[in-house]
C-alpha cells in the first residue's frame, strides 16, 4: 500500500511541473498591460509611473529571467508580491483558503445530509408521489444556474422575508453562511439525491438483502444495517468526483454574496491584471485538484485491493 502511495506521489511531479509552466505561459498571454490597470481605468496614464512600476515588478527583464526568478521564488515557497495589494501573495491566499474551505465543506455537509435523506426516501417510496416530487426537484436543482439561484435566494430571504443577511462574511457569523451554502450545495445535493436513490434501489434487489429479510430481521434493520451501509460506497465516489465542480460553484457564489474567499480574489485579480495573485490562485486551485485526485486514488486502492497491484 505504501509503495502504491509513493508511486502515485512521484507520478504527480511531472504534472506539477507542467502546471507551473502552463501557469507562467498563461500569464504572458493575458492581454493588457498591468501597468495600465493601476489607478482609475478612466483617467489618463502617467508614463513615468508606468515605467517605474514595470521596473518595480521586474517586467522590464527578459522572459527567461522572469521565469527563473519566478521559479526560484516558487521553490522557496514564495509566490511574489501582489501588484495591487503590495503584499506577499502567499499570505493573501492563506487568508482566503479557510474562508473558501469553510463554504465548500458546509455545502458538502448540507448537500450530503439532505441529498441522501431525499434519495433514501424516494427509493423506499419508489413510484409514489414522494418519489416523483423528489426526483423532479433533483432535475430542477441540477438544471438551475447557481448564480440565478443565489439572486433568487437573496430576493426571497433578504428582501421579502428579511431574515437572513445577503452579503459579506459577518466575521464568521453562521447566518452569513446559510445562503451561499445553499447556493453552492443545491446542484450537488440534486446529484447526490439521484445517486443515492439509484444505489439503494440496486442494493434492495441484492441476494444478501433477501437473506436478511428471510432471516426475519425487521425491515428497519435491513435498511439501516445492510442497504444503506453498502449504498454508501457509490455515494462517496460521487462526492469525491464532484468536489472540483463544487469549488467552481463556490467561486460564483463568493462574487454574488461578497464572500471574501479564493474565488472573489481570483476574479478581482483577473480584472485588475494582478498577475502574481492570479498566478498564485491558479496554482493553488490546480494543486488542490491534483491532491484530491491523489486522495481519491488512494481511497480506491484501500477499498479495492485489486487496484494496488496493477
Amino acid at each position: 500500500m505504501l509503495s502504491f502511495v509513493a508511486r502515485r506521489v512521484l507520478e504527480m511531479i511531472p504534472t506539477v511541473i507542467l502546471l507551473v509552466l502552463v501557469v507562467f505561459i498563461l500569464m504572458q498571454l493575458v492581454p493588457g498591460d498591468p501597468a495600465m490597470m493601476v489607478g482609475d481605468p478612466r483617467a489618463a496614464r502617467d508614463p513615468e509611473v508606468m515605467e517605474r512600476l514595470r521596473e518595480h515588478w521586474g517586467l522590464d527583464k527578459s522572459l527567461p529571467v522572469q521565469f527563473f526568478t519566478f521559479l526560484g521564488k516558487l521553490v522557496r515557497g514564495k509566490l511574489g508580491r501582489s501588484y495591487a495589494m503590495r503584499e506577499p501573495v502567499v499570505s493573501i491566499i492563506a487568508e482566503r483558503i479557510p474562508v473558501t474551505l469553510r463554504l465548500a465543506f458546509s455545502a458538502i455537509l448540507f448537500s450530503a445530509v439532505f441529498g441522501m435523506a431525499l434519495g433514501i426516501l424516494s427509493a423506499l417510496n419508489k413510484g409514489t408521489m414522494i418519489d416523483l416530487f423528489a426526483m423532479s426537484g433533483a432535475v430542477f436543482g441540477i438544471s438551475m444556474p447557481n448564480f440565478w439561484l443565489g439572486l433568487m435566494l437573496i430576493f426571497l430571504f433578504g428582501v421579502i422575508l428579511g431574515i437572513l443577511p445577503t452579503n459579506g462574511y459577518g466575521g464568521g457569523d453562521i447566518r452569513h453562511l446559510i445562503l451561499p451554502m445553499v447556493t453552492v450545495g443545491t446542484a450537488y445535493m440534486a446529484t447526490i439525491t439521484r445517486t443515492s436513490r439509484a444505489a439503494i434501489l440496486d442494493m434492495l434487489n441484492k441476494d444478501y438483502v433477501r437473506t436478511a429479510r428471510s432471516k426475519g430481521l425487521t425491515e428497519r434493520l435491513v435498511i439501516s444495517k445492510h442497504v444503506i451501509r453498502n449504498a454508501l460506497i457509490p455515494i462517496i465516489t460521487i462526492l469525491g468526483l464532484q468536489f472540483g465542480f463544487l469549488l467552481t460553484n463556490t467561486f460564483v457564489a463568493e462574487i454574488i454574496f461578497s464572500y471574501p474567499g479564493l474565488g472573489s480574489l481570483m476574479i478581482n485579480s483577473i480584472s485588475r491584471r494582478d498577475l502574481p495573485t492570479l498566478q498564485g490562485c491558479i496554482l493553488v486551485a490546480g494543486l488542490t485538484f491534483l491532491i484530491l485526485n491523489l486522495l481519491i486514488d488512494v481511497l480506491y486502492a484501500y477499498l479495492d485491493p485489486r487496484i494496488r497491484y496493477d
Binding site: 521596473e55 466575521g171 471574501p260 485588475r272
Partner: protein, 531 residues
C-alpha cells in the same frame, strides 16, 4: 375681504410659518450616533495605504481616515483648508507658505506637525515605493532628482517650524493645489515602525479612524473623538464591498445599506418613489462618455467626417431610452459643471441632413466601414448597448459599423498602441479644467498617456501652453474656453454624455450632498442619522 379677516389671516399665517420653521429646525438639528453603511460598487479596495492606492474605490475610505493640507469640498469643488489653516502665495505663483493648525492629532494621539507632511511627500516620491501617485509631487522643486534617487530630500519642501511650511515649485501650475489636496499626510514614526503593515492598519488624522478590514467584504471605521474640527456625528462608518448590482439593490431595499450609487435601472425605480422612502443625490459628474476616433484611420482623419458622426446621432433619444435619462447630453469635451465660460457652446444637435452633407463634402458620400471597440460593464453609458444603438444612426450616413468586444484592460492596451479605429469609453475624473483638457489634447502626449486620438492641433497646444502660465483664474478660464471651443470644433470624439451621477440614500441619512468630482466621494463627517 375685511381688514379684520386679512389681519387674522396674516397673523395666523405668521404663527403657522414660525411654527413650521421651528419644526423644521428641530428636525435639522444633527444627532449624534449610529452606523452608516456604504456600498462600494465600482470595484475592490486593494489597499488602505494612501500613497499606494489609486482611483476612486480605495479613495472613498482613505479620504475618511486621512487628511491633506487642503481639501476639495464635496459638492462645490472648492479648495478649502484642512490641516493647513491658511496660506499665502508669492506674486509669481511659485512659492507657497502654509500655516498649519495647532490642534491636529493623529489617531494614535500624537500631534501632526510640518515634518509629517515633508515625510509624506518624500515617501510618495521614494524610488523604492514605486507609488502610482508619483506625478502628484512633480511640481515640487527638487522632486525629479529625489525620484531618481540622486538626492536625499525634496528641496522644494522646507519645514520652517512645527506649524509652518514653505513649498517651492519648479514652475507655476494651475493644478498645484488640486494635486496637493490629494497628498495625504501619514505619521512618520508609525509608518517607520509598522513598515508594510501600515496598509492593513492605517493611522491618519481624518475624521474616522480605522477599526477592521475583511478584504473583499467590509471595512469598519469609527468616529475619531479628537478630530480637529470636532468629532463626526456618526459613531461608525462601514464600507461594504458589493460588486453585484442585484445584491446591492436587495441590500438597500432590506435596509442593510444606507448609501449606494445607482445604475440606470435603479434610477428608474427609485426616482418614482416618494422622498419619504428614498433620497436621491444627483449631479452631473466630471466624466465625458465618448467614442474616441483614431486620426490614423484615414476616413476619421477628416474633420468633416468626425463632425458628421456627431451630427448623425441623436444623443437625447439614446439617453432617454437606454439610460432612462440618467445622463446629461454632451456638447463638447468639458462637462458643463466646470467653471469654464462656454454659454454659447451648443455642440452638435441631431441633424442627419447636415451629417450627410458633411460626408459628401469630405468625399465619403458612399460611406466607409468602422470597427468600434467596446467593453462589457459600461452599460448604456459607454458600453456595448451604446454601440448597438448608434449603429442604425451611422448606417443612415453610410457608415457600416461593426462592434468589437474587448475587456477594459485589453482595450486600453490596444488604444495605447493606436491599434483601433474607434473606441467607446468614459474619460475624465479631473477636477481642474486645465488638466481635464491638457492630459488628452496636448499633442506631445503619447496615446497611452491620454492622447488616445493622436490629436495634434498647434493652436490648441499654444493655448494650453498659455493657460499653464496664466496665474489669474478668470483669464485662465477664458483661455481654456477658447481651447475647448477648438477641440469641440475638431470633434475628435463623438461626444455622447456626461454622467448624471445618482446616489441612492435612505431617508434618515442627512447632511450629504451630491459630489460632481465623483459621487462616491463624500464628506461623511457631515453625515448624521435621523432615526
Amino acid at each position: 375681504m375685511s381688514l379684520r379677516i386679512k389681519l387674522l389671516l396674516v397673523v395666523s399665517l405668521t404663527i403657522l410659518m414660525s411654527f413650521s420653521s421651528l419644526v423644521a429646525f428641530s428636525g435639522d438639528e444633527p444627532k449624534q450616533g449610529g452606523t452608516l453603511d456604504v456600498a462600494v460598487s465600482y470595484g475592490n479596495i486593494h489597499t488602505l495605504d494612501p500613497h499606494l492606492s489609486t482611483g476612486v474605490t480605495p479613495g472613498q475610505a482613505i479620504e475618511q481616515i486621512f487628511d491633506g493640507l487642503v481639501a476639495i469640498e464635496s459638492g462645490s469643488l472648492d479648495l478649502v483648508p484642512e490641516v493647513a489653516k491658511n496660506w499665502i502665495v508669492s506674486q509669481d505663483g511659485k512659492t507657497y507658505w502654509f500655516k498649519l493648525r495647532k490642534n491636529v492629532k493623529f489617531h494614535n494621539g500624537e500631534e501632526l506637525t510640518a515634518s509629517d507632511f515633508k515625510f509624506s511627500v518624500e515617501r510618495l516620491g521614494d524610488p523604492d515605493l514605486a507609488s502610482p501617485q508619483l506625478s502628484r509631487i512633480n511640481l515640487l522643486k527638487g522632486s525629479q532628482a529625489y525620484k531618481e534617487g540622486e538626492a536625499d530630500e525634496i528641496t522644494g519642501v522646507t519645514v520652517i517650524d512645527d506649524y509652518t511650511l514653505r513649498i517651492d515649485l519648479s514652475e507655476f501650475s494651475p493644478a498645484f493645489l488640486y494635486d496637493l489636496a490629494q497628498i495625504n499626510i501619514v505619521p512618520e514614526d508609525v509608518v517607520k515602525e509598522m513598515g508594510e503593515d501600515f496598509a492593513n492598519n492605517p493611522v491618519g488624522s481624518g475624521p474616522f479612524k480605522f477599526e477592521s478590514w475583511r478584504r473583499d467584504s467590509i471595512i469598519k471605521l469609527s468616529a475619531f473623538e479628537d478630530y480637529y474640527a470636532g468629532r463626526p456625528y456618526l459613531d461608525n462608518l462601514n464600507f461594504k464591498i458589493m460588486l453585484e448590482a442585484g445584491a446591492r439593490q436587495a441590500a438597500f431595499d432590506s435596509k442593510g445599506i444606507d448609501f449606494m450609487l445607482a445604475n440606470g435601472t435603479m434610477y428608474e425605480k427609485y426616482r418614482e418613489m416618494p422622498e419619504s422612502k428614498v433620497k436621491l443625490l444627483t449631479c452631473a459628474e466630471l466624466f465625458t462618455r465618448n467614442m474616441i476616433l483614431n486620426f490614423d484611420y484615414e476616413p476619421l482623419s477628416h474633420r468633416k467626417v468626425r463632425q458628421a458622426i456627431n451630427y448623425a446621432i441623436d444623443n437625447k433619444a439614446l439617453i432617454d431610452n437606454i439610460l432612462r435619462g440618467k445622463a446629461v447630453p454632451a456638447v463638447g469635451w468639458l462637462p458643463t459643471t466646470m467653471p469654464v465660460p462656454d454659454e454659447d457652446l451648443e455642440g452638435y444637435p441631431y441633424n442627419p441632413e447636415k451629417a450627410k452633407e458633411l460626408m459628401k463634402e469630405a468625399g465619403y458620400e458612399d460611406g466607409f466601414s468602422l470597427e468600434i471597440m467596446a467593453s462589457e460593464g459600461g452599460g448604456g453609458a459607454y458600453g456595448l448597448r451604446v454601440v448597438e444603438a448608434i449603429m442604425p444612426f451611422l448606417r443612415e450616413i453610410g457608415i457600416d459599423a461593426e462592434m468589437i468586444v474587448r475587456d477594459f484592460g485589453t482595450a486600453s492596451d490596444l488604444v495605447g498602441q493606436g491599434k483601433f479605429q474607434a473606441r467607446m469609453y468614459s474619460n475624465g475624473g479631473e477636477v481642474s479644467p486645465f488638466k481635464y483638457l491638457e492630459i488628452y489634447f496636448n499633442s506631445e502626449r503619447e496615446r497611452y498617456a491620454g492622447n488616445s486620438w493622436g490629436y495634434d492641433n498647434p493652436e490648441v497646444d499654444a493655448l494650453l501652453g498659455k493657460a499653464r502660465t496664466t496665474t489669474d483664474f478668470d483669464e485662465r478660464m477664458e483661455i481654456i474656453a477658447e481651447a475647448h471651443k477648438l477641440v469641440t470644433r475638431d470633434a475628435p470624439s463623438w461626444f455622447y454624455n456626461y454622467n448624471k451621477a445618482v446616489a441612492v440614500v435612505q431617508p434618515w441619512v442627512k447632511g450629504l450632498v451630491a459630489n460632481p468630482r465623483d459621487n462616491a466621494f463624500h464628506d461623511y463627517d457631515n453625515a448624521w442619522l435621523d432615526k
